[in-house]
Symmetry: C2
Subunit: 137 residues, 2 copies
Amino acid sequence: MLVHMAEAGGRALTSEELSSFIHTNPVVVRRSIAGLREAGIVASSRGHGGGWQLGRAPDQISLAEISSALGETLLPFSTEPESPGCLVEQAVIAALEDFRTEAERLLAEKLGRITLADLAADFRRRYDEIGVTSHAV
Amino acid sequence: MLVHMAEAGGRALTSEELSSFIHTNPVVVRRSIAGLREAGIVASSRGHGGGWQLGRAPDQISLAEISSALGETLLPFSTEPESPGCLVEQAVIAALEDFRTEAERLLAEKLGRITLADLAADFRRRYDEIGVTSHAV
DNA sequence: GTTTCATGTAACTAAATTAGTTACGAATCT
DNA sequence: AGATTCGTAACTAATTTAGTTACATGAAAC
């Protein structure tokens, strides 16, 4: 959805339009990206001509920020104790916490280098490629 | 559960015993760790005196192997195309695939350095600590 | 100022996943 | 033979997620 916004040239896209891109429902779209507003990644406006657009330039929006704004974790496990007092769990959690700290730093650093502008550029490259192919055929 | 096996001194623990450690059901235990058998991480035996034990020494079992044998992914997202033909999705997946390749290598390398023996040693340290505290009080 | 358009959000439904449970057959030891 | 334990199927319940409907709020157009 964000790539589509980046490609929209400043025009606001409605959740109706966005939902058709990913074959889902407008309400699902609004729910999904509402969390990006507070982080300034998107801006929404109501009424005629309203909709969604990027909150800043695509090269200033990294995948790390998006992930963080969506409240996603970068690692697929929890370190919440489930049996407080269990020493085995404590040992496992201690090891995983150490691992998590460094791993998340590494992942965030890597994802921070990929921006929406990169994705949009790659999308455009593929788009032009198809265009050429179509002409050739 | 594997730490408990490591601490059991070679004796096989029943799924009944293991399930009581983590407050769950014997069948859930069997289902959960069945996948570790094929990887040689655990061995199970039936009948009287049967149960579960480690398939090799705790210092030869890394968290990376356990994670892999359980079929877990190290990263919490999928790169399965959902709309084949969507160029935006292709661009996103391409970027994430690159990221995933290096990230998984890094994570596996880190998790490969943590072994069951490390966890068991930390567990034992905590256990002795409690013992001392209890005596002191 | 009324109409139209679009978001914000609550409430409900349906589907998918997961944990838990019961039951029983197969294997193994005493 | 009998007791024990895993292996596995089948079912139930709880949780999560996506999808849908409905409607209030806000903003532009006329």
